[in-house]
């Protein structure tokens, strides 16, 4: 696939994510930060975010699995996830976290479990698209470095 086509595909993907609300303007800001001096910034960030989020989700699953749920810990994790998702611009994930926190405050286990599922769903959806994005970026960069050579 040509470089142009790759770029187009990437842009299309990102745009669709914006339109759907998966990403908000925070991500736009981050895109602007990526330039020649830090070419892999977005990729690095996304990787960081995904790794961190999955860790948090695993912890949350474990916590909610217990008979007696420690809501404070759950809340702390959700808070963290909310923070990182908002820093990256993952809008849907962030919103799902907000809901999750509400259930936490109410000590509503049922609600928490449901909210966790929503968060997971949103996250994996985003993750899939991020993966595609990263792949495209890699290919583009490979292309560009090849061209430079």
């Amino acid at each position: 696939m040509s470089l142009m086509a790759l770029r187009e595909q990437l842009n299309g993907l990102v745009n669709s994510m914006f339109l759907e609300g998966l990403l908000d303007d925070q991500f736009e800001q981050l895109q602007m930060l990526q330039d020649e001096s830090s070419p892999g910034f977005i990729a690095e960030l996304i990787t960081l975010f995904c790794g961190d989020s999955e860790r948090i989700l695993a912890e949350l699953t474990k916590l909610l699995d217990q008979a007696v749920v420690d809501y404070q810990k759950v809340d702390a994790f959700v808070h963290q996830l909310k923070g990182s998702s908002s820093s990256v611009g993952a809008q849907h994930v962030k919103l799902a976290c907000v809901q999750f926190r509400q259930f936490c405050e109410e000590h509503n286990k049922e609600g928490c479990l449901r909210a966790l599922n929503v968060v997971k769903h949103e996250y994996y959806l985003l993750r899939g698209k991020f993966d595609t994005m990263l792949q495209l970026e890699q290919r583009i960069q490979a292309y560009e470095s090849k061209q430079q050579i």
Partner: protein, 653 residues
């Protein structure tokens, strides 16, 4: 290392080119979330606070020379951060820390850093709740940013460094040499030279001069601030500078009182500092929370507690300021304020936490500079808090508009009272989102503005401002023409005078009644007139209500008016709950007035029947404004009481 070091120095020397902030300011960023940390680092780097990232202190020790100049350092552990700071005390200019961290509470870190190292600390969090922010401020945060952090916000944080340095200089040493002072400013903005510049004076001078030349434009903002600070500080007026000492005292006082009880007044008492006003401390941070530009915040900080700026700020402030004021108890600086301001503050103090809305309004009233849009913002914000004040307006029924109207009216009335309004128990803010309405706001703002003219009937212009529509304020607009009458009436010392005007207004309002009916009402009003102005006022309010409702017949209106007039006179025990909703279910207004109870009853019925909460809103507004005038000569108690009685009568029988 060396490369970075050189780069660091380079950055300082060449200046920030087109950047408008000092390059090379050394920042330590602490956040347990790696994603956020990375983003923060990238943003800071983009702001040219360049640096190297150190994952942990171990890394620093291993691969890096501790003495190396690392402008941006990040760590995900608070304990590591503390260690870093303690070991390299003068290597950092600013600390940005997350609130929520696993190994140490962000606030604790903030406190420790602030007190031990006297570095400006900026808090960062997803959580933007006011109480959390207050906590941050109580612990000495220079600023409180919300995640996700934007680069624009980060671009301004250098001001905290400069400010801190400047004030430190002022406190610690006498810089007779203005040049030296300025140089210091530039130096500090460059990224943290020690206070002791004597050792490297030449170097700094050279650097600063060079930098000055290169960054002349860039530093404009900085220098402007500096100049402004200088101007302010050279003023004769003793300005309290928020120095480290003050901060320490502040924190100590807060700790002593406990977060919950740390009311600014108490804090001030504990701190025992002269002329220290709340605005010094809180305004800056709460302003940041609002959408006000950070520039303004800096200006605010610069101006401190000077009255004029306070006024200015109050008109510009958003919600945040209100909270500040609300939270604050009595204003210790009352005496230093002008009478209007005193009044405002007294009201604020008197109303306590809930009074801020009213105080807000009062301030607005006294600030003729406030524009409708400001008022709008203000009102919108004001309406948020619940009405917990034990005043008339308490228990306002579901008719949100009414609720909002009433407190506002009362608040307006309150502002009318000269001084010593602390007794005012009249409405405070009533909760109600419906009031947050553009038209409403403009109405109120208009009203408030008018209040500045004691003798003139506020409603006059305010009413005019209201849009003509189904909006309750519409009523007012029609009434405006009649208000001058009120003014005249006022002079006669009878509140009833305004009422007739209202009567006419009401008749014109909603085009329900004809002017013919007004006289009738007027008569009624006159009859019901008493020295007790309150009744008349309430009657006025009621008058306004009926006209609005298209369903109300003219007869009803007139009758309602008359009944209002009569009922108004009767103060009765107040039933807190103004069941204005009853208005909507009100019965036939055709009932004539009977004994005062009956009048009120019919009045209330009428009103409920009218089902025009909007009208009621307008009504109450008008009422309040009228009452203001009427009451300005009466004790606030009376008004309150009267209102209460009147309103209680409105309750459905």
């Amino acid at each position: 290392m060396t490369v970075e070091e050189r780069k660091g120095h380079l950055m300082r020397e060449e200046g920030g080119q087109n950047d408008r902030f000092p390059v090379g300011m050394r920042v330590l960023a602490v956040d347990d979330d790696p994603t956020c940390l990375r983003v923060l680092e990238a943003l800071l780097l983009r702001c040219r606070y360049h640096g190297v990232k150190a994952e942990s202190v171990d890394l620093l020790k291993e691969g890096f020379n501790v003495d190396v100049f690392v402008p941006v350092t990040t760590t995900n552990q608070a304990t590591v951060a503390l260690k870093l700071l303690r070991e390299n005390r003068d290597k950092f200019d600013l600390v940005i820390s997350d609130v929520h961290m696993p190994d140490m509470d962000g606030f604790k870190l903030l406190e420790l850093v602030g007190l031990e190292m006297d570095l400006p600390v900026i808090m960062l969090s997803v959580n933007g709740e006011t109480k959390t922010v207050m906590k941050g401020i109580a612990h000495g945060a220079c600023d409180y940013l919300l995640k996700p952090v934007r680069i624009e916000e980060l671009k301004n944080i250098w001001q905290h460094v400069v400010r801190r340095r400047k004030f430190s200089h002022k406190d610690y040493s006498n810089f007779d040499n203005g040049e030296e002072f300025e140089r210091h400013q530039i130096v500090s903005s460059e990224g943290g030279q020690d206070l002791n510049i004597s050792g490297s004076a030449n170097q700094n001078g050279k650097l600063s001069r060079k930098r000055k030349d290169q960054n002349e434009e860039d530093e404009d903002d900085c220098e402007e601030n500096v100049h402004e600070n200088e101007d302010l500080t050279t003023q004769k007026k003793p300005r309290v500078v928020w120095s480290i000492d003050l901060h320490r005292k502040f924190v100590a006082a807060v700790n002593q009182l406990g977060i919950d009880k740390a009311v600014p007044k108490r804090i001030l008492e504990l701190m025992n500092v002269e002329r220290l006003t709340r605005e010094n401390k809180y305004r800056l941070y709460l302003k940041r929370l609002s959408t006000v530009a950070s520039q303004q915040a800096n200006m605010v900080a610069t101006f401190g507690g000077s009255d004029p700026s306070y006024l200015h700020m109050s008109s510009l402030d958003g919600f945040g300021s209100l909270h500040v004021l609300a939270a604050s108890g009595h204003l210790p600086a009352l005496t230093s304020l002008q009478s209007s301001k005193v009044l405002d503050r007294a009201i604020t103090g008197g109303l306590g936490n809930h009074g801020f809305t009213s105080s807000r309004i009062v301030q607005v009233g006294h600030n003729n500079t406030s524009t409708p849009c400001n008022d709008l913002n203000r009102f919108q914000h004001i309406n948020l808090p619940g009405n917990q004040h034990g005043s008339l307006l308490q228990g306002i029924p579901t008719s949100l508009e009414l609720e909002q109207l009433q407190p506002r009216i009362i608040q307006e009335a309150n502002s009318q009272f000269p001084g010593g309004f602390s007794d005012n128990k009249l409405a405070t803010a009533t909760p109600g989102s419906s009031f947050v309405n553009g038209t409403n706001s403009s109405f109120i703002s208009q009203t408030l503005q008018q209040q500045a003219h004691p003798r003139r009937f506020i409603n006059h212009s305010s009413i005019r401002a209201t849009p003509r529509s189904t909006h309750p304020f519409h009523v007012g607009s029609e009434c405006s023409s009649h208000f001058p009458d009120l003014g005249r009436c006022r002079d006669t010392g009878k509140c009833a005078v305004p009422l007739p005007a209202y009567a006419t207004n009401t008749s014109s309002m909603g085009s329900f009644t004809t002017d013919d009916e007004c006289p009738k009402f007027k008569d009624n009003l006159t009859i019901s007139q008493r020295d007790n102005n309150i009744p008349t006022i309430s009657s006025t309010s009621f008058m306004a209500a009926p006209p609005r409702d298209p369903s109300i017949g003219r007869d009803r209106q007139c009758q309602a008016n008359s009944s209002i007039g009569r009922t108004m006179l009767l103060p009765t025990t107040m039933d807190r709950e103004m069941k204005f909703v009853n208005f909507s279910s009100a019965g036939n207004s055709k009932e004539r007035l009977e004994p005062k109870d009956g009048c009120l009853g019919s009045l209330s019925r009428l009103l409920t029947d009218l089902r025009c909460s909007n009208a009621l809103l307008g009504l109450f507004l008008i009422t309040s404004t009228i009452s203001y005038r009427a009451y300005s000569e009466k004790a606030s108690y009376k008004i309150e009481w009267d209102h209460r009685s009147t309103f209680s009568k409105l309750l459905p029988s």
